[in-house]
């Protein structure tokens, strides 16, 4: 093995062969490190088109607004971006697998409603209520996956159907009222437990809980996509479904697991949002599906599947959050904000396409 590795590293195109060989070990070792470092930088920084955009945005806003560049504003942005970030991580997995999930906003509302109803009306304890909400999300995702694979229905159609179904179920569950509502609150039942609120708006050592949730989920998502056979299967199925099948990778299993994870994450987002809003309702998270897809696209994941990563999507979610925050600080009207977001999505994707072609990454 050692010999082969040596052979690998002495190919013609290697920049280190240009270093004169008269100065031995130290210089050659250093040059090797430099060329290796260069390679790492090339592979990763260039992959990070979105991170460049994020840095530009931060630098620009830091100069443009005196209120932008400070810790409390950043914590604020983090809280505001957290829901989109959580959903975007799941959406990334779905999209890399050549799918798309339009139901995430509705599933978020359904899960949140389930948890809120369980703890405030059914009197279940907090942990059970949360588990019930997460379980609802995961189950919905599982069902979506089964419908897509077993029913052979395109992802777009199946999740579109699930979007209205889940929204409807949430409305039925909450009877169209916020949970807890003032009506029930008068009867002195139905306040949300403090623990649930803490999940959305609490802090640990000054760090907002949602920030911790994002970090944990991003790390887990990154591990799944880069370090597990499941992640490999998702990339393979998204890159070429037939080829994956012929290589022994189960399309059905991969798809179902991916959508289940997505559903679970929609549940997490639902609970965090409930905590932040201090209540749940059946109409929360409207438009969240498109927001999460936008974050994924800005993050450099290919909408046709097979390429991309969760870290990019996290950055994408933050770009959107910072943009919204910054434009507010600059007193740009909400109407114009939408126009600007649209232009930014197009700009980032054009840049990304160019970068891929130019550097063959």
């Amino acid at each position: 093995m050692g010999e082969q590795r040596k052979k690998l590293s002495t190919t013609k195109n290697n920049p280190k062969s240009t270093i004169p060989s008269r100065v031995p070990s130290v210089a050659s070792l250093m040059s090797q490190w430099i060329s290796m470092g260069g390679e790492v930088i090339r592979k990763n920084l260039l992959k990070g088109g979105p991170i460049i955009a994020l840095l530009f945005l931060i630098i620009y806003l830091a100069f443009a607004s005196p209120y932008f560049f400070n810790l409390s504003n950043f914590l604020n942005i983090t809280r505001q971006s957290s829901i989109n970030a959580i959903l975007a991580i799941g959406q990334t997995m779905v999209i890399i697998g050549a799918g798309i999930d339009l139901s995430v906003g509705a599933v978020l509302a359904l899960s949140a409603s389930m948890s809120a109803v369980a703890v405030s009306y059914w009197g279940l304890n907090l942990a059970v209520g949360i588990l019930l909400g997460l379980g609802t999300g995961a189950l919905t995702g599982f069902i979506t996956g089964v419908i897509i694979t077993k029913g052979r229905i395109p992802d777009f159609v199946a999740t579109l159907a699930m979007m209205t179904t889940a929204r409807g179920l949430a409305l039925i569950l909450t009877q169209g009222l916020p949970v807890p509502s003032h009506f029930t609150a008068l009867k002195l039942v139905g306040y949300l437990p403090a623990g649930l609120i803490w999940l959305g708006s609490g802090n640990v050592l000054g760090v907002p809980v949602p920030a911790i949730v994002i970090v944990v989920i991003t790390i887990l998502g990154w591990m799944v996509m880069t370090r597990t056979t499941l992640g490999r299967a998702i990339y393979a199925v998204g890159g070429n479904r037939e080829a994956a099948r012929i290589s022994g990778i189960s399309y059905v299993r991969t798809k179902i697991i991916t959508y289940t994870i997505m559903g679970l994450l929609a549940g997490v987002a639902g609970i965090v949002l409930t905590g932040r809003l201090n209540s749940a309702n059946a109409l929360m998270g409207e438009g969240a599906e498109l927001q999460s897809i936008a974050a994924v696209v800005i993050g450099g994941t290919n909408l046709f599947g097979g390429e991309g990563g969760v870290v990019g999507s996290l950055i994408g979610a933050f770009i959107m959050g910072i943009l919204g925050n910054g434009l507010n600080l600059l007193n740009v009207s909400a109407f114009w904000q939408r126009v600007i977001l649209g232009l930014i999505i197009i700009g980032v994707v054009i840049f990304d396409q160019w970068r891929r072609r130019r550097f063959a990454v």
């Binding site: 093995m1 082969q4 590795r5 690998l8 195109n13 370090r227 990339y235 393979a236 012929i246 990454v361």
Partner: protein, 493 residues
């Protein structure tokens, strides 16, 4: 040929990130000649012709066509300059009919802007006739075999009546008969004054179609010489830059017990009562022409075709194989004839290599990256995958190098029964020996290999037994050394 060249390329240079694909290459083409372009996988052949066809921009250099310098900006532009190309990776649209594909982008219209369908079908039929091709021009291309698709692709370019034709490995998917037809056609075109650049890894084709030969190596032009000076040894030495080992290093093995047995396999309209047995440590070759059913047979074994009747035994146990997953579970591996069907283009080289052996490089679902890299490095080195960069995305490899990756995937899969449909398709002469060496290693470990090949020398040298097929029936069986090219061809046609 003493007048000025029709087309001259001067100092064409092209780099991709990490690869200098063409290094100041000069090349010329005269009216009415077939100029053959040779070189190892990744030498830059496709890149050169793609620059001519307008599908890749050059970095620097000059293209002089009919005495005038031109900048070819797109395939459309190339076409208007009289240049047509048959791509190595076919460019047909699967869901469109044969006729639509042939006339793509220039469907003849009748009055009132409506497409003149009867006229198109008739024209398409005429063009297909020239290739002796009997396909219904109304069927969607996805229903055609790879060889048929290749011929349609050629028909499409022929229908353009261009003055310069670029053929990038046009015969790699064809069997003997269609190859002969293609040679006749190429020679006929040339006599009509058309100029052709022809890329192939089949050195035996050189004297049959070419007038001059140019050899590329690592993006540099090594030499251009007339065909009568270009005997195989000379060419090979120029291509690989070293002496070549034995081309077919077959090692005798003593086959063990039967691992795969097929009895009376029947698929309506495709296979007719096929019987055969594959033993441990044995290489069985299957040989047949277009439409003989070889590919259908192996697809059926891998659960990709519905079987009407017949029995399959693996290690003496009767099995039904309903899906590829099941087949893999039973220890089978299958390299598809069209490598596109087995590769994940946006994924890295190493991930493609290990795709069918994820169990072997993981524990509890967690990948062991070090182990994976070791497996990847082994094949990158042994099969000379170029550039030797494990993390490069597969889509940025040359055709032959992609084929090596597709093959590696099964070589390392640990499968006990390997089915290879044209394993060396598009692979250069220098690497073939390496591949067969790996076959030997596997058969020594008791793996049985079922190999479809239309390369006569290869199948004659490497297969312990050869089955000849014609129209879905096995017409003859030979042991190694029992038959000759002529005899084998006779039993299939």
């Amino acid at each position: 040929m003493s007048e000025k060249p029709l087309l001259r390329l001067e100092a064409i240079d092209k780099s991709f990130p990490g690869v200098h694909a063409l290094d100041h290459v000069d090349f010329d083409l005269y009216k009415g000649e077939t100029h053959i372009l040779l070189g190892e996988n990744g030498a830059g052949k496709s890149t050169l012709v793609k620059i001519l066809s307008g599908s890749l921009p050059k970095d620097s250099g000059r293209i002089i066509l009919r005495g005038k310098q031109v900048e070819i900006t797109s395939p459309y532009h190339a076409r208007s300059l009289g240049i047509g190309m048959v791509y190595q990776e076919l460019s047909l649209i699967p869901s469109l009919s044969v006729a639509e594909n042939i006339f793509l982008g220039r469907l003849p219209k009748s009055r009132f802007f409506f497409v003149d369908w009867p006229g198109i079908y008739k024209k398409a039929q005429q063009i297909l006739k020239r290739l002796n091709l009997n396909i219904d021009p109304t069927v969607p291309v996805r229903h055609l075999s790879l060889a048929e698709q290749q011929l349609v692709e050629i028909a499409k370019v022929l229908s353009l009546n261009e003055q310069i034709l670029l053929f990038d490995e046009p015969t790699s998917a064809l069997s003997e008969e269609e190859r002969q037809q293609l040679f006749n056609l190429v020679n006929e075109l040339r006599e009509r004054g058309i100029s052709i650049i022809y890329i192939s890894h089949h050195l035996s084709e050189v004297p049959l179609v070419g007038q001059r030969v140019t050899v590329l190596r690592d993006g540099k032009k090594i030499a251009t010489l007339p065909v009568n000076e270009a005997d195989e040894d000379t060419i090979i030495r120029m291509m690989v830059g070293r002496e070549l080992k034995e081309q077919f290093p077959k090692e005798e093995t003593s086959p063990g017990k039967p691992i795969l047995k097929v009895q009376g396999l029947e698929i309506k309209g495709a296979l007719n009562h096929v019987d055969f047995t594959l033993h441990e440590g044995e290489i069985v070759g299957i040989f047949g022409l277009l439409g003989a059913g070889c590919t259908t047979l192996v697809r059926a074994l891998f659960g990709l075709e519905k079987i009407d009747s017949g029995k399959i035994y693996i290690n003496g146990r009767r099995v039904t194989i309903s899906s590829p997953e099941k087949a893999i579970g039973l220890g089978l591996g299958y390299l598809t004839r069209d490598r596109k069907d087995g590769l994940i283009h946006p994924m890295s080289v190493v991930s493609n290599i290990t795709l069918a052996s994820l169990k072997g490089i993981s524990q509890l679902g967690l990948l062991k990256h070090r182990k994976e890299r070791q497996v990847g490095e082994k094949y990158v080195n042994e099969l000379r995958i170029h550039p030797p960069d494990l993390t490069r995305k597969l889509m940025y490899l040359s055709g032959g190098n992609q084929q090596k990756v597709a093959l590696s995937k099964w070589l390392c899969s640990g499968s006990k029964i390997l089915i290879f449909d044209e394993p060396t398709r598009g692979i250069d002469v220098g690497t073939k020996a390496e591949i067969f060496q790996l076959f030997n290693q596997l058969t020594k470990e008791g793996v049985g290999i079922l190999m479809i090949s239309s390369e006569l020398p290869e199948i004659l040298a490497m297969a312990d037994r050869i089955f000849a097929m014609r129209r879905g029936t096995v017409t003859a069986e030979y042991r190694r050394g029992e038959t000759t090219q002529e005899k084998l061809l006779k039993s299939v046609s």
